[in-house]
């Protein structure tokens, strides 16, 4: 290993790139003779890594496409993975790693796709495994290794990008999902909060609440924190800010969903909600808001047609 690394450095220094091109293309021609054997071994190696999470036939089809694109690129006389000759190959690999990323494959399971080509090629040309079959092909393998490494790097970058996009999308979806403002009654809206209330979410929550207050012409808002597991000083401060902002717009807020353990914790922390109305349940808060709007809900008397309110 150390010897080959040193050798490759020497090659880079002496600018011996051009001759490696021809050697790679010669290697691919030799491999082309054993194409069937190579693809079988390659498919086998990749499938083993994926442990049945991808259909073998499908894997073989992908690898055949990669193999053909690789040969087409090399036939254009270059080993530079960034060159236009490998455009098709790169787009194939990008597509593959994006799909893998979206389906939750690990980096290793994605990387094996290209990486396994080196081992498979070696096994094809050196079935005995003692290096005798490779003795004449040292420089050829060096060229192949270099190209595969480059492509590997490219695959991994695409994979990481795709994963980050998935995460960013999910974070955005969560932000939206978690802040529905619902109309409970004429003039009464509710904001059921679920999960953690950090600064970014508070901003979204506050914006959507204030906007809904305007859109629906509501004067009462109920902020329900049943789904907030812990109310610390930051959450409390965010809640207070939201209530004050709503007040500035002329709306009165009620905070509901304060369970016994939350109440005790808030007392110990020393958080005071001042003159903000708080209730244990959303039902209590709705009842309070209804009485504030002057609405009475009357239970219908038995056996008489009620008048709809």
């Amino acid at each position: 290993m150390a010897q080959s690394a040193a050798a490759s450095q020497v090659l880079v220094k002496t600018g011996d790139e051009m001759s490696l091109d021809t050697e790679l293309s010669r290697l691919l021609q030799i491999l082309q003779v054993h194409e069937e054997d190579l693809l079988s071994r390659w498919t086998e190696a990749v499938s083993r890594q994926l442990r049945g999470r991808a259909v073998q036939l499908e894997v073989r089809r992908e690898l055949t496409e990669i193999w053909n694109a690789l040969r087409a690129g090399v036939a254009m006389g270059t080993t530079d993975a960034q060159s236009p000759a490998f455009d098709e190959l790169r787009s194939l690999l990008a597509e593959l790693s994006r799909t893998r990323a979206r389906h939750g494959f690990s980096p290793r399971e994605t990387a094996i796709g290209v990486l396994a080509l080196k081992d498979s090629a070696q096994n094809v040309l050196d079935p005995a495994g003692d290096g005798s079959g490779l003795a004449e092909l040292y420089r050829e393998f060096l060229a192949l290794g270099r190209l595969v490494d480059e492509l590997e790097m490219f695959t991994f970058e695409t994979f990481a990008e795709a994963r980050e996009r998935v995460i960013a999308d999910q974070a955005e979806q969560l932000l939206e999902l978690a802040t529905p403002v619902v109309k409970l009654w004429d003039g009464i809206v509710a904001l059921p909060l679920v999960g953690t209330l950090d600064s970014a979410r508070t901003q979204v929550v506050m914006e959507s609440l204030l906007q809904t207050l305007v859109d629906t012409g509501s004067a009462h808002a109920i902020i329900d924190i049943t789904g907030v597991p812990a109310v610390d000083t930051q959450v409390a401060q965010h809640l207070l800010k939201t209530v004050v902002a709503a007040r500035l717009m002329g709306a009165e807020c009620i905070v509901s969903g304060i369970r016994p353990q939350i109440a005790q914790t808030m007392v110990a922390l020393g958080i005071e909600f001042g003159d903000i109305a708080t209730k244990a349940t959303l039902a209590d808060a709705l009842a309070l808001a209804l009485s504030q709007t002057g609405t009475d809900i009357v239970r219908r008397a038995p056996r008489r047609r009620p008048r709809d309110s």
């Binding site: 812990a230 000083t233 914790t265 110990a268 922390l269 020393g270």
Partner: protein, 138 residues
């Protein structure tokens, strides 16, 4: 006092808001496993949340160590928060309700002390801060 035995240890680095959430979840899981009452679970989780955020905001990041301990009679959750930030110049002032050098309510540190059974604060200006809290089962 009986020998204190540690039943389980978890370490979490604190460098982002997401880490604060992780600390909270870890403490909650440990508190549930140690069979703390729902009120005590909520209290230790809230205290951990305050202290982890202090580590992040004022200490510039650090780490949390969450342990399940047993003193021979009862189980407890012990959480340690360590940073190498600027340290606390006046501990008494920092523990005063309503005092803050950030934009918060000024209740985090003092509140966390009230939420736990044991509270140890060790801080040196320029060297960092180390806070350890413990909550016991009743």
């Amino acid at each position: 006092m009986a020998e204190l035995s540690v039943l389980g240890t978890d370490e979490v680095p604190i460098h982002t808001d997401a880490d604060v959430v992780r600390v909270r979840q870890l403490v909650r899981a440990a508190a549930v496993a140690a069979k703390l009452s729902l009120v005590d679970q909520t209290k230790i989780v809230t205290a951990a949340s305050e202290l982890a955020r202090n580590t992040l905001i004022y200490g510039g990041g650090g780490q949390a160590v969450v342990e399940t301990v047993n003193d021979g009679r009862r189980r407890g959750i012990r959480a340690l928060f360590r940073d190498e930030g600027p340290g606390i110049a006046d501990v008494d002032l920092a523990l005063t309700d309503g005092y803050t050098t950030g934009g918060g309510l000024g209740l985090g540190l003092s509140g966390a002390r009230r939420l736990c059974d044991e509270f140890e604060l060790d801080s040196a200006v320029g060297a960092g801060t180390c806070i350890q809290v413990t909550k016991w089962t009743r």
